[in-house]
Point group: D2
Chain length 307, copies 4
Amino acid sequence: MLRPGQVLRTVAEDCFSGAVLTPDDLPSKVCELFNPVVGPFYVQGAEPGDTLAVHLLALDPARDWGMSATFPHFGALTATRTTAMLHPPLQERVWQYDIDRHASVVRYHARRSDYTVELPLDPMLGTVGVAPAGGEVRSTIVPDAHGGNLDVPELRAGTTLYLGVNVPGALLAFGDGHARQGQGEVCGVGVECAMRVTLAVDLIKHVPTPWPRIETDHQLMSIGAARPLEDAYRISQHDLVTWVAELTGLDLLDAYQLVSQAGRAAPGNVCDPLYTMHAAIDTAILRGATVYGGVHRRLRALAGAMW
Amino acid sequence: MLRPGQVLRTVAEDCFSGAVLTPDDLPSKVCELFNPVVGPFYVQGAEPGDTLAVHLLALDPARDWGMSATFPHFGALTATRTTAMLHPPLQERVWQYDIDRHASVVRYHARRSDYTVELPLDPMLGTVGVAPAGGEVRSTIVPDAHGGNLDVPELRAGTTLYLGVNVPGALLAFGDGHARQGQGEVCGVGVECAMRVTLAVDLIKHVPTPWPRIETDHQLMSIGAARPLEDAYRISQHDLVTWVAELTGLDLLDAYQLVSQAGRAAPGNVCDPLYTMHAAIDTAILRGATVYGGVHRRLRALAGAMW
Amino acid sequence: MLRPGQVLRTVAEDCFSGAVLTPDDLPSKVCELFNPVVGPFYVQGAEPGDTLAVHLLALDPARDWGMSATFPHFGALTATRTTAMLHPPLQERVWQYDIDRHASVVRYHARRSDYTVELPLDPMLGTVGVAPAGGEVRSTIVPDAHGGNLDVPELRAGTTLYLGVNVPGALLAFGDGHARQGQGEVCGVGVECAMRVTLAVDLIKHVPTPWPRIETDHQLMSIGAARPLEDAYRISQHDLVTWVAELTGLDLLDAYQLVSQAGRAAPGNVCDPLYTMHAAIDTAILRGATVYGGVHRRLRALAGAMW
Amino acid sequence: MLRPGQVLRTVAEDCFSGAVLTPDDLPSKVCELFNPVVGPFYVQGAEPGDTLAVHLLALDPARDWGMSATFPHFGALTATRTTAMLHPPLQERVWQYDIDRHASVVRYHARRSDYTVELPLDPMLGTVGVAPAGGEVRSTIVPDAHGGNLDVPELRAGTTLYLGVNVPGALLAFGDGHARQGQGEVCGVGVECAMRVTLAVDLIKHVPTPWPRIETDHQLMSIGAARPLEDAYRISQHDLVTWVAELTGLDLLDAYQLVSQAGRAAPGNVCDPLYTMHAAIDTAILRGATVYGGVHRRLRALAGAMW
């Protein structure tokens, strides 16, 4: 059980349950369980209609390597189970990345040539969620209104994720660390790595949150999860527009106009059962509006107190 | 007629043909022509199978104000002619922005309250295209493989747009200046303003380009245009993956993997007849690969020579 | 518990749990539970990897009236929670139909005029499903590979539905009777009525079924459930093509060609969390191929024995 | 030039321009022009805002064989130019059908086995269109509001197609005969055959038609063309609902409800640049409403007079 305000430190295993150890370990052969999560944690006092704030204080790769792969019939540029086609699957192939925390890079190695290149280390959690609404139980591979496998690279250390609570105790779970991923996660897999996670939770009582939201020091984001991708865009923009209207007192069309010119948008994943996109706006544009009672700043201060 | 290497200076009228002069001028009442373009220009020597490079040396708003609007049944958060629904249209409303070139801001004014806020000035061209393939003639509102109404905010001064040539002379046309727009252009309209355009064209002979591509000083982008939005994502990522493979010698799956971790993606528009997304990668990751014979750097140098 | 071969007679309440009794009873006001189902039933001997055959012997409306409605933000021609828009909801309105079993008609009455017209009575079950795979628990409003809220009007008396078994006992449940519905169920609601259901179950051991399939006396159908709608089409056609290849010995492209010319297709629902489409082919074209060991004919014979 | 009321007899070549003569003639090798059409014909007196009625009196295959094929990256179960993927293309293969007009069948022959089967002969025109609106020129492969490559198997002899007129003279063109096709035309190609076409045209002055509509002796249909497929569904259902409201005096939601229970729907094509679906309702349900001044019955009577 977690208490509001409590800090939790743990290690989350990678999406392959740690079973892919070399480029010769094909996930379809060696993995028994995909996308394991830590949890669920019962959050004391959480009730349906509340909002759970999950602040990521630190994300540190737990190993000095990460793995990625192509999977048969999974990813954006391949036929899949639902975008069903008559093509044979693409080759299943594994890539091993070096993770250098001191240099803050991950190193890519081609499999069919000696090409190698360094990319910025940018740790994130692919999966953070609570129990879904309506008594449903969903696979950890699914992103939706309850969070889950959002695969949004903006979910970095220093951010607070807001999730609506659907059941008593909220039942928080998380995992699927990526040393980094591209926007859209086009092949379906990030640089998967076991992750040391330090997070703090808090509760905003009696304030519902319809879709996952992220707060950073300088911006607000709404996340939509749907297919087709334009619906993920619509959900995220709609949530941001209505949120901006509420925060600024703007009428709905005035907020629509402001977000139309000031908003940013990007895909999280275009491969999971539901696709995700985020809509973002700088808080400066909202003239310093405070959201959820300032919980992000309070939790953010914990980081300063700890290190 | 334009010669390769030639610099062109002109002014492009806004998407309202300059007919919206105050917030009381509803586009549906005052506009006879939407999205006028400058051109078409016959580019000397351009033949089908070549690539036209269009380098934007400078984009400067031609007036100290811009206009935006909601249109009946146009935009991402409204029923449209094709996402047909039984709702009455949202209100048609116009917003006037101040454009302050010295402070480099555009100033938003709410219509139903006294809320006002400054956003960064970020001039772009919504529409740059050549004649389509296959003898087609398309409205200037349409983005597709020939360019057209891409509405991609990354099409700023300092960038080079590559378009495949489909007809002798290419027939370049452009317009639809925005003082800025959000990613996805959610309400369907940017901060529309007449734009002083300085551009240079060049030709890469016998090199085809399947979809619009953008080069900046530090990155390469591919643009897809399609519905649903995931197909715009697929096209742009597929073009970038195959382009990266060609530039680096990586095999196709190795390039797929690299773009999966290093790639960026964002929507241009989610409102036009076809939606657009771009896929981007830093050229540093490609170890300094030169594309299209280095034409971007040569055209970029023109800017230094002129100012 | 049900034994293979066993016949079950029961009554399934309507999707409003019987709470909508007059056109003045708005579902959003009077309903506490939507889409209740009868079950789940444990089917003796059913194991993952088997196929459950559910044969509908008879479907008879249990009342002489049925109800339909428009719901706020539900249906194909309205903004919804995921096709999120800024429109206010359409009006919530209820229609009461007379059901005349002797004349075999349902009678529509307009609410804003005295227009009335008779439509053929065509009873069906909207929801028939087993427990989903992977330990998931889904709302009864969801159609997917496990069946569920398929809302396919072809699920009439005289048909056999094949569902892959995911958990021991299969856990069959059903409900959501419609006196009839249009293809696509465009407003999101059929002519909802409590239904007397007579069905028989059987098991095909060690034969998996990837997506729901229907057999009638003269045709085979595959059902896909997905968004966007083309993916529901792709799934259903892909399943039918591979099934035809298996039944006829045709190679995959030969089967693709045959289905391309001989196949039928129609939407079930275009309103639920996943859309459904069926793909159908006449068994005569397959030169009398027998599927699932002829279980449909054996179960069909039960009907003759009973009446 | 055609006069309203005039009957035209002609032969339309097949979509391969007649160049595929045996199963060894791969379209990508032997075809210079795809989907040729007869026309355009200037219809005397047709003005923008009118409706052109095209009544198909007779469709007779002009040869005793037809051809079908799989194309690289074309069709619903394959990666395409816009649903871009990394798979190599499926094999290009040609099938030759026997067309037996006396027995009213087409005979399928497998290519990799000796499987052969007869299917009902059901001649239709894939492409019937007028000049598009807004000065556009579109490829004959494109279906849209102007008609074009609708690929709707319901476009048989005995039906009247209504198309809105966009330019003086309408500019009617047609072709792409199919001896039959499945619903959705899943592989992208029907049983293509040169077709003897007998049609009559008429004009309904000052009556616009927003999307293609079909009238048969007993039903009305609206056709939508869009991607994703749900938008083709939405367009067709929306057009049918508003049309029914206009014909019956029902208010919009009452018409929505009636179509929800009485409407039929099916895909035409799920492979062309825009997908098509039709929405249909029996005229009996509309209590004998007469549309477009009864032009269908008058043109239908021509058939009786001619044979």
